[in-house]
Amino acid sequence: MGLREVLLAVFAFGALAFALAVVSTRNTVYAALEFVAHLLCLAALYCLLDAPLLGVLQVMVYAGAIMVLFLFAVMMLDIQETGRESAFQGPGQVAGALLLAALLFALLVFGADRFPAAALAPAAAPGAPGVGADNVVRVARALFERGALVFEAVGVLLLTAVVAVMVMAKRRLEN
């Protein structure tokens, strides 16, 4: 087992462990922090999967911006601990959800069975994501050439979201 395999195992375990921690932690802020750790593990996995650009973007956008916004909202709301009430729904719902999640997992694994058992494609092959500085260029090509229309649509979506949030915030101020 080389260094890459060890790191893969560590970060894969970390991603799963922190995901479970998010679901089971009562305190919202601690759950958010565990989710940040989960995202960082995923970013490391992306880097190990020859996607350094996505790995860094994951840290920048998800961990650095989205989750900070989350924590900001949690702290601004100053949510009181919800008394003695459990953080979870009733036991029946938990059991049902557990069953459903297990079923979902089984279904996905069963479905993935039909994927071609792909061997590791050479990273520098034409059409592949590429390595090093090439990775940035190739992802940019995929993004701005084939995905140009989607890119514009996503831009419009983000703008719409910004305007929507502004409207929501403004209306409250007037009342």
Binding site: G64, V68, M75
Partner: protein, 392 residues
């Protein structure tokens, strides 16, 4: 003596891997020494002395060892001793693990970002080419931004786990300010990146060294100026003057220094670090100095040509300064000196800004960030992009 050197040369030439490994260790040790020495020690002394000079005071000068005062340099040692010996207080309701983690997160993210900053080009040692960067990443500048984004967590954690209303309010101020200006810091650099066509700091510096203003579209075609401009290096600051001014402003907000120091506001509105004492408090202070060095470094790399010195060209084993041949080693030394001087200049300039301007009001900071800097940065980027397409 001569034989020892010869045998060293022979051993190094025979083991290329050894050269690379030693270079990696040496680069890391050098960078960490520079960061810790400047960020941890020298900047706080410079700040004391510079503010004193600007305010017509003498500044800290009492600390002495055996009567030697050394211009107040020993005050840093006294500060360190005080920080270590002071009681490390953790509020009873705070989570001790997270309370301790916060200052380390704040400083370590800033320190880690230095791994992708080059402090020179490529040097040739015993037949091996060594990049003077700890981790030469092709996406270097994105890595710096990512680490900046992670640095917010130190402040967020400090404010939240202290279990104190004032630190929570301070941390809300800090978070909103820092994430607002991350937008500005990102967008203002993009204009320069359009010229360099790379996210790698080494490529940016190489582009700036390899071009002059006469080669820039539109500028080079000006009838009389074209020939004159050909003698001016194409540094980012000449290509993107507005981008530079905006970026410099945004970095000062990012490191929450005085005109924008609302997160801590040490003189009246206390901030996120009030429940910290001793060394942990000093680590928060240190993270600010480390960030100020980080941003000075990034500004020099992106906007001021990095280690390039106009008139100096380094070839393969030869150095030429305005047409005169120089020994290669002195050429390398000149480049290093140019880089160091530029960084020192920007550290000084940051201090100058800090001690010249009064603090902004919070709504003024937000107004500046979202209603002035963001549209200006977007306009700058759009104009640069359109001109770039027209010049094709």
């Amino acid at each position: 003596m001569h034989t020892a050197l010869d045998s060293l040369n022979a051993a190094m030439s025979a083991h290329p891997l050894l050269v690379q490994a030693l270079a990696a260790v040496a680069k890391t040790v050098f960078m960490m020494t520079v960061v810790m020495l400047i960020g941890g020690l020298i900047l706080s002394w410079v700040e004391r002395k510079q503010s004193a000079i600007m305010q017509d005071r003498i500044g800290a000068n009492r600390a002495a060892i055996l009567g030697v005062r050394a211009w107040g340099l020993f005050h840093n040692l006294a500060d360190a001793a005080k920080g270590i010996l002071k009681e490390d207080f953790i509020p009873p309701d705070a989570n001790p693990f997270l309370h301790t983690l916060a200052p380390f997160l704040a400083v370590s993210t800033a320190v880690v970002a230095f791994a992708v900053l080059p402090f020179g080009g490529t040097v040739h040692l015993w037949g091996q080419s060594v990049d003077l960067t700890i981790a030469p990443l092709p996406i270097g500048i994105l890595f710096v931004w990512a680490m900046m984004g992670m640095g917010v967590y130190g402040v967020v954690l400090a404010g939240y786990v202290s279990n104190n209303k004032f630190s929570l309010l301070g941390c809300l101020r800090a978070t909103a300010q820092v994430i607002s200006y991350e937008v500005a810091t990102g967008l203002t650099v993009l204009g320069a990146l359009l010229f360099y066509r790379s996210l790698d700091f080494r490529d940016m510096v190489a582009w700036q060294m390899g071009h002059n203003l006469g080669q820039v579209p539109f500028l080079g075609h000006l009838p009389d100026l074209g020939a004159v401009l050909a003698h001016i290096p194409a540094w980012g600051v000449f290509l993107q003057p507005l981008g530079f001014v905006l970026f410099f402003t945004a970095t000062i907000v990012e490191m929450t220094r005085i005109p924008f120091d609302l997160p801590e506001g040490e003189s009246e509105i206390i901030g996120y670090n009030i429940e910290y004492s001793g060394m942990k408090f000093m680590i928060f202070m240190m993270s600010e100095f480390v960030e100020s060095l980080l941003f000075a470094w990034v500004i020099v790399l992106v906007f001021f040509g990095g280690w390039s010195l106009p008139g100096l060209h380094l070839g393969d084993g030869v150095a030429v300064l305005f047409g005169h041949a120089l020994p290669y080693a002195s050429g390398v030394a000149l480049e290093a000196a140019a880089m160091a001087l530029k960084i020192v200049f920007f550290l000084w300039f940051q201090m100058l800004v800090r001690w010249s301007l009064p603090r902004f009001r919070y709504d003024q900071i937000m107004h500046l960030g979202w209603k002035i800097m963001l549209p200006l940065a977007l306009a700058n980027l759009a104009v640069t992009g359109v001109l770039g397409v027209l010049a094709r």
